[in-house]
């Protein structure tokens, strides 16, 4: 890249940063204050934790699409690995200590995931955090040589990956008789959200793990 261009870009970025700073220092009073709304509707939301309430109820639609994005990324990776040279060679044998450790930790991590999922209703936590822990377990097992890379997912695995989104969609549609998408009946809000989160935990865990495991088999 030409030097003058680099300098120009650097200058522009600095200018942007300064402009942003200046803009932030000159902000008016907020016209809309959502925290109050959130607090006011928290009881009706079916969960006690405001962030979870926003994530899965008030703005649950964002989350629905977010889950789709996650699965979509994995589809993209699978699309690539259809053309990746060299396929699943078994994981390279790892140190026995690592293997034993992984064998011990994996079940524990599943347990932690379950806890995070449950606690999400009233404290920081929830499906994504839980899924991340599950995924970590998957990666750990792979590193320990206990899990093969996923060249192409089998029917069962595909089912697991899609489950979260399908459950979420089903619940979303179930809201239509109330008038809108994702409109939980107040009485059923918390069980429905728990159902969705459970499905998401599994699928997000598998998806995140998949994002690593799908390309793990490509040739070096």
């Amino acid at each position: 890249m030409k030097a003058w261009l680099a300098v120009l870009i650097a200058l522009l970025c600095t200018g942007l940063a300064l402009a942003l700073g200046a803009a932030m220092l000159a902000l008016p009073e907020l016209a809309v204050r959502l925290p109050a709304d959130v607090a006011a509707n928290l009881d009706a939301s079916g969960v006690a934790h405001p962030v979870t309430a926003v994530l899965l109820n008030f703005r649950g639609y964002d989350t629905l699409l977010e889950v789709a994005v996650l699965l979509l990324a994995l589809l993209g990776v699978f699309a690539l690995s259809h053309h990746a040279s060299g396929h699943t060679h078994p994981a390279n044998p790892a140190h026995p200590v690592l293997q034993t450790l992984a064998r011990l930790l994996a079940p524990l991590m599943v347990l932690v995931a379950g806890y995070l999922l449950w606690v999400g209703a009233h404290a920081p936590g929830g499906a994504f955090q839980a899924g991340a822990v599950l995924a970590a377990a998957g990666v750990l097992l792979r590193l320990a040589g206990l899990l093969p890379a996923w060249a192409q997912p089998g029917r069962l695995l595909r089912g697991g990956l899609a489950l979260g989104l399908l459950v979420f969609l089903a619940v979303a549609v179930a809201g239509l008789p109330q008038g809108e998408l994702l409109h939980y009946p107040p009485a059923l809000a918390s069980p429905l959200i728990l159902l969705v989160e459970a499905g998401l935990t599994l699928s997000i865990g598998l998806t995140l793990a998949g994002l690593y495991l799908a390309s793990a088999g490509w040739k070096k």
Binding site: A19, A23, R59, Y61, R155, P177, Q178, H183
Partner: protein
């Protein structure tokens, strides 16, 4: 019970569902499912348009909370037009894709799931009335598009996909920063809530946000000089993918630019900014057309034609900004008509090009001889699509040109008239470059095999639609007027 059959949410849920199911079915499966589902989506879009014509624009408060706490979906005339375009283009393309991947299977494994998510993203984007939710739909759209570019594998497509991904991520990054600034200023991301709050004397943060969001969207729309990523991406992907991307994906971000410009940011728009957009459009028209003329690969020619045609879309801004309302209406109608015309015609053109490539076994304009004799219907479709792109009557492209020309003349902006005329002639130059070659007899050593009928007829259907819309375009304009503050 009527709520359960409300077309608006189903337009988003349905493609998500069938995309996921197609993934469940396994590599390469799900074509029939997709075609059936898209046909259903088309009916839903028509039903929604009918509802709008009956009762005007409508809001769907997801979760029942309503803005600003919840997310609103909003369907007005503009959204309905784009929804109709999307489903109407997707249906023939799905039929085309089934035949195409049967003939050349490279990259068929995940085409259907990715397409399902792509259509879901488009529909969700058109219906969203929430700046942050639009960000999510943008990312869904971008990743689906990148995935589709890469499905064929190989050096050129993967490079193109990488370039495309970085460009689209940068674009949505800028957009997201804009959203953050807006929320930080007003405390909401709902268009309905924000529109009355944004005024001419808005703080610096909002001006910055406007610039950042529009710039990000222009990058995703591939307006000159942000077009660098488009030709390799659209020219390198399998034909059905190229068609989807050129016809629909760039229109989505254009739609956002238009909506934000006309509604949320209207108080901040200036003639200077509008002129700048118009000038970039002119540059795009000239640069894209000239490069299209110099291409030797058919798909690259069509891809550069997209770069040029995107330019036409942006001519509407100088014609619609701070001019008498009548003129502005005509300009907006022209711009949207151009988007629709190009959507149909470019889909037809890429489909026809795909058939020619399958038939000749190579992507080379120099070896199209004999296509005219062996694939008359395909060449005819390519020609009809070309007529629309040239803006010759009777075609939707002409209606668009007519509306824009009228706006230009009535606001006394002669420069744009000249541009549109010259652009039309340049388009003719590169379209006839292809037609002339295809009319020639087959060269020695070349081969032109027959292609499945579905390939030829799906392309023809799209091309015919782009012509007929030129004769029966009035209803579209009535629909478009719904919910627009005249």
């Amino acid at each position: 019970m009527t709520d359960l059959l409300d077309p608006l949410p189903w337009l988003i849920v349905l493609p998500l569902a069938w995309g996921t199911l197609a993934f469940l079915l396994g590599p390469g499966r799900g074509g029939r499912l997709a075609i059936a589902a898209i046909a259903l989506q088309l009916m839903l879009a028509l039903q929604l348009a009918g509802q709008l014509l009956g009762n005007g624009a409508r809001v769907h408060a997801v979760g029942g909370w309503g803005a600003p706490l919840g997310i609103d979906l909003m369907a007005d005339g503009l959204a309905a037009v784009m929804l109709l375009l999307t489903q109407a283009v997707a249906l023939p393309l799905a039929v085309f894709a089934r035949g195409y991947f049967a003939a050349s299977p490279k990259g068929r494994e995940l085409f259907w799931p990715l397409t399902g998510f792509l259509l879901a993203a488009l529909n969700a984007l058109f219906l969203s009335a929430d700046l942050f939710n639009i960000y999510v739909t943008l990312e869904l759209l971008g990743l689906a598009a990148v995935g589709l570019v890469a499905i064929a594998g190989g050096r050129q497509p993967v490079t193109a996909a990488m370039r495309y991904l970085l460009a689209t991520l940068l674009g949505s990054g800028a957009y997201l920063l804009g959203v953050a600034l807006i929320y930080g200023t007003y405390g909401s991301v709902s268009l309905a809530v924000l529109t009355p709050l944004v005024t001419g004397d808005a703080p610096l943060a909002v001006t910055l946000a406007t610039a950042l969001m529009l710039a990000g969207l222009l990058l995703k729309t591939a307006l000159f000089p942000f077009h660098f990523w488009l030709p390799p991406a659209h020219g390198g992907a399998p034909a059905p993918v190229s068609a989807l991307l050129s016809a629909l994906v760039i229109k989505a971000t254009f739609y956002l630019v238009l909506r934000l410009w006309l509604e949320l940011f209207a108080p901040l728009t200036t003639v200077a900014a509008a002129q700048l957009l118009g000038i970039l459009g002119v540059a795009a028209i000239l640069w894209g057309s000239v490069l299209a003329l110099t291409q030797s690969r058919l798909k690259m020619l069509v891809a550069y034609s997209t770069v040029a045609q995107v330019g036409y879309l942006f001519l509407l801004f100088p014609l619609a900004t701070l001019v008498p309302p009548g003129v502005a209406d005509s300009a907006v109608q022209g711009g949207v008509m151009q988007a629709v015309a190009h959507g149909l015609a470019k889909a037809a053109m890429f489909a026809a090009a795909g058939s020619m490539i399958v038939a000749t076994g190579r992507d080379d304009i120099g070896h199209l001889g004999g296509v005219g004799a062996r694939l008359p219907l395909t060449l005819f479709s390519f020609g009809l699509a070309g007529v629309t792109l040239m803006g010759l009557p009777p075609s939707a492209g002409f209606s668009a040109k007519w509306l824009l020309l009228t706006a230009a003349l009535e606001s006394g902006q002669w420069g744009w008239v000249a541009v549109m005329i010259v652009g039309g002639l340049l388009t003719a130059a590169y379209v006839f470059k292809v037609l002339r070659r295809a009319f020639l007899p087959m060269a020695a050593g070349d081969r032109v095999t027959r292609v499945p009928r579905t390939l030829e007829f799906s392309a023809f259907a799209l091309a015919l639609a782009s012509i007929l819309l030129g004769l029966f375009g009035a209803p579209l304009l009535y629909l478009l007027a719904i919910g627009r503050a005249a």
